[in-house]
Amino acid sequence: MSIAQTHDTRSSAGSAVLSGVQKLAKSFAVILTTLLGLLILTFVIGRMVPADPVIAVIGDQADQATYDRVYEQMGLDRPLYEQFATYLGNVARLDFGQSNVTKNAVSSDLARVFPATLELATLATIIGAVFGIPLGIISAVRKGTWVDHIARIVGLLGHSTPIFWLGTIVILIFYAKFGLIPGSGRIDVFNEGLVEGPTHSLLIDAVIAGEWGVFFDVLHHVLAPALILGYAAMAYLSRMSRSFMLEQLRQEYILTAKAKGLGQRAIIWRHAFRNIRVQLLTIVALAYCGLLDGTVLIETVFAWPGLGQYLTSALFFADMNAVLGSVLLIGIISIAINLLSDIVYRFLDPRTR
């Protein structure tokens, strides 16, 4: 019996590269649009809040003449589109204005507080992913057994316990009662300023400088807040990975893998896990974004000198430059993380190439 050979068409390598470039250009266009939207939003909010920027600068005791002069100086008499253009120009030069509270440039304030939040959020994300993902997968594989039940209870507790409450309780027990952890801050007073490194992450800088005493001091400080945030992230990540895994284990290709004679480990890690990597990456990136801007509560409880605390105090003092600068920074970081995970997708899932 003769069988016709199959002719299959496939784009040449050249056009494949072209479509890759096109995709990249498309995602950059999306990013630019998002960024512009973000800038418009922060600009409009800055103009709409009832806090008067002039009074914020000169105080409410100044006379009308001074007020008018500063009003003009700040360009508030110019048309809105002109103000927006000025705003764009300033942002492009990383000039977010001056903070009325700290009297520093907002950009230098952000450069100081953001690394603290970045360090905390990164550690928490790592803790959450390292424990949460395997927990969710084991829970899915052993669905319905006591392992699954315990994992789900742990996850549910983490999901439903308010972080500020947990933080307070941890401080109450481990700091106030047993004195096992430092209660607040990033570093002991006598270690402050000992390491000034290139990364502004105290942990990494201390390692670079070889200051192990400082390193362990910083680790000691970061441990409790990072574990609490990490536990919340773990709860979310384990619940999600469990349901992703369950979904994959129902797929037909799992039956194929079994029919081939593969053992359970190969089926789970080589076949099912490879299929949930993209989803896992998405939720880890989401959790990371959430932790970067959502550490306000834990930063307040542990007096962590980070972005969350800076932003909240700026809000309390109607320090609009600081608020808008922080919001913009958070927005840019979110966009960057999304872009990064978009790029990694292409490596993990052949269908998106």
């Binding site: 019996m1 069988i3 016709a4 050979q5 199959t6 002719h7 299959d8 496939r10 797929q251 037909e252 290709y253 039956l255 194929t256 893998a257 079994k258 029919a259 081939k260 004679g261 593969l262 053992g263 190969a266 080589r270 076949h271 490879r274 299929n275 990597r277 993990l348 899932d349 052949p350 269908r351």
Partner: protein, 281 residues
Amino acid sequence: MLDNQNILSIENMSVQFPALSGSVKAVRNVSFRVGREKVGIIGESGSGKSTTGRAIMQLQPPGAVVTADKMQFEDIDLLGASEQQMRNIRGSRISMILQDPKYSLNPVMTVGEQIAETVILHERVSRREARARTVAMLERVNIRNPERVYALYPHEVSGGMGQRIMISMMLISSPSLIIADEPTSALDVTVRQQVLSILDDLVTERNIGLIFISHDLNLVRSFCDRVIIMYAGRIVETIDAENLEHATHPYTRGLLNALPSLEHPRDRLEVLKRDPLWLET
């Protein structure tokens, strides 16, 4: 090519699923033998044909219970085999071809990797040798330029090619029994014949047994040597494919009469009348 040597003999096999009220029997006391031949299992949805195929490989869904007086595959008692023994059998001595390559191939592994995996698993060969074997196997199922296809992902191949890849994956370790669960139902009619003839060639050339699960009477009649007709978890009739016209069981007759035929045009096709008595025989 037909000889009487049995590869598989099943006696009184039942498969039960636990349900809220007692249990549901999906397969009820079926007995059959498969030699070096092509045996079709035919029946409507829910008649237990796929469940039968999976039970042979001990791949029933969790919770399902398989009982039988005897399940003998060559020198192995499938009933008493441990999970480890079954893993050594699956893919190397009994294989299964599933319906739709769109779902039955892993979307994020190259097809070559997936085929080579079977050889590496069962024959402990090196990666290089597994690759060479895979390429040769792809050539055997009439895939042109197998080196290139090796590196493709399932979404990059057509349905017909996907099913030939599935066949390669399942036959590369030379099993003596293949269970094909509706292997052509998801394919276009035009490529169906291609895939069938490749399967036919391989089964004949290697002189192995094939269980062909289908709901397509005409296909099974032309492709298989013998036909087992299942209804509601039971085997109602076993008949040589060429004698299918002379089937005696009213269910089989009903199915045959419900088929349109070009040679004998009829105004009205018969509607199957189900007899509750069939459930009890």
